[in-house]
């Protein structure tokens, strides 16, 4: 994607995106609702004409050369749609026809891969959301793609369905396929992707590996609940390699340590000083918090109730507030 832009009236859905997806593995394309993920993928698939900028798929621009650019590329945007009055199998054969009739013999294998072979003769109108999603994947696989563009493939699936879908995507990537996976779930991207780009309001906010994203996190890394905050702050100030600060309210302090040894020395020192340690929790900000920071900027603070998807077990959602201070 090169300087890619798409305007709808006065809204810039995609506002100048430059991004290169390396071959191999799953590339996460992460962003909140309305970030422009689907619009970008539509432009990649040649469904929408960019206002300016261009896309290249293995060197070819669908806006210039049409469907020829989609050789080796497959995918879907939003919920995959099929002819409801035809069976899943007939739908796939129809799409195989539209691919030049080369892939009819792949219909059965791909149905098997997505575990729809038992329901292949039922009309798609009778399929559940999860089955349609899997049929969408089958339809993409039919083309024997080298690059697969998936737009929120786990959208609307139950937890089991999500797990199966993710496993499938991981397996495909292991077999050498490149997957561009759009998602609004950080933990999904964390599970599946080694590289990712974070988009918000049509612009790239971060692009790189998961490690590079993690390296961006800074700030306190432990939360201590103690019997005496003032005393604990004083003790912590004397332990080398430890910086401590109080939290706004309760009997808690935040500490930043240089290494695991420093954390251990701090607890020993606190014990010697007669200060009880009620809890000590690792507080590495979750990637999800970083994601919120990157996509929402600084204007959003405070606990964020209602977010239950959390990428690391240590990140209790109620602490989102202090961690972002």
């Amino acid at each position: 994607m090169l300087g890619l832009r798409k305007e709808f009236g006065r809204i810039a859905a995609v506002d100048g995106i430059d991004l290169e997806v390396p071959a191999g593995g799953v590339f996460g394309y992460l962003g909140p609702n309305g970030a422009g993920k689907t619009t970008s993928l539509r432009m990649l698939l040649g469904l929408v004409r960019p206002t300016s900028g261009s896309v290249e798929l293995f060197g070819q621009d669908p806006a210039a050369v049409g469907v020829a650019a989609l050789d080796g590329v497959a995918g879907f945007v939003e919920n995959p749609a099929f002819y409801a009055y035809l069976s899943g199998r007939r739908n796939l054969h129809l799409l195989a026809d539209m691919d030049g009739g080369r892939h009819h013999d792949r219909v059965e294998p791909v149905l098997e891969i997505v575990e729809l072979d038992g329901r292949g003769d039922d009309k798609v109108g009778t399929y559940s959301q999860g089955m349609r999603q899997r049929l969408g994947l089958a339809a993409a696989l039919l083309r024997e793609p080298r690059l697969m563009l998936l737009d929120e493939p786990t959208n609307g699936l139950d937890p089991g369905g999500m797990r199966d879908m993710r496993r499938l995507v991981a397996t495909l990537a292991d077999e050498g396929l490149t997957v561009l996976l759009s998602s609004h779930l950080m933990n999904e991207v964390e599970q599946l992707c080694s590289r990712l780009a974070i988009v918000a309001r049509g612009r790239i906010r971060f692009s790189g590996t998961l490690e590079e994203l993690r390296a961006r996190q800074h700030g306190p890394d432990h939360l201590l609940r103690v019997t005496d905050v003032v005393g604990a702050l004083a003790v912590a100030g004397e332990v080398p390699g430890v910086r401590a600060e109080p939290t706004a309210g309760a009997a808690e302090i935040l500490v930043t340590v240089d290494g695991p040894g420093d954390a251990a020395r701090l607890t020993v020192a606190l014990g010697r000083a007669g200060i009880g340690l009620l809890a000590m929790l690792p507080a590495a900000p979750s990637l999800e918090e970083l994601f919120f920071d990157l996509t929402e900027g600084v204007e959003r603070r405070g606990p964020t109730p209602g977010r239950c998807a959390s990428s690391s077990p240590s990140a209790a959602p109620t602490w989102a507030g202090w961690r972002r201070r």
């Binding site: 539509r42 698939l45 040649g46 049409g66 129809l94 691919d99």
Partner: protein, 279 residues
Amino acid sequence: MRKLLAQRRTYLGWVAATLIPAAFAIGLAINPPKPPEPGGPVDPDVYISLAYNSSGLVLPLIALFFSSLVLVPLLCALVAGDIVAAEDSNQTLKTVLARSTSRWQLLRAKMLATATYVLVLLVCFGLSGTVIGVLANGAEPVPLGGVPLGATGFTLGAHEIGAGSMLGRLAICLGAYAAPLLAVSAWGFLFSTLSRNSAAAIVGMLVFSFANQIIAFLPNVPESITRWLLTDQFTAWEGVLGTTVDTGALWHALLVSTLFAVPPLAVSAWWFQRRDVLV
């Protein structure tokens, strides 16, 4: 085309086209046409109905005469108005356009499918009318032909058309009617492409077809104008029934119909090529 074959409405259209002549056969059996007052003017519809007393072979023409305005265009609109818009409302456009078939190829296939549907519909109509008519009143020679009576070409029967020749003329009649029918279907196709809404496109095509035909009934519209509208082409088939077949009128109908069909198809193609698929 195979998608059309899998849809119920396709067959409904064809079955309806088969039933229309049957309905007329029943109507005429219950209420046989009566001869007009001697000396008075004979309207073509009365005349053609009278011919039915002599030969069942005119049944398709009677049915065509009375259903060409609304009924048959409606059956065509059901498909022509739906064929592109349905892909929009089912959101399947994004599915099929992400394959190796270009937009133009897809649209062309849809144009061909629509045309095929319309032609098959007319064949159903003609076959059923002929078979039912013959069963009811026999395949006798038809007392048509003679001196042309004005633009519509119906004449009192100084002349008979033999049964075999009548079958050929029936085919030409339906072929002549197919031309303007395909032309209005092309407009339905355009409405379907632009509106992305089946119902709107179906109504739009019907209104267009109706408007084109109703002009003939307005006073003071000179023939020099209606001749270059689809209006006159819808009745050009009547010229087949004279002493000899009026080939000039048929070619003219074909020409005007083509002139009316090409622009909507071209605009459809241009629009479909450049539009954003956002569903």
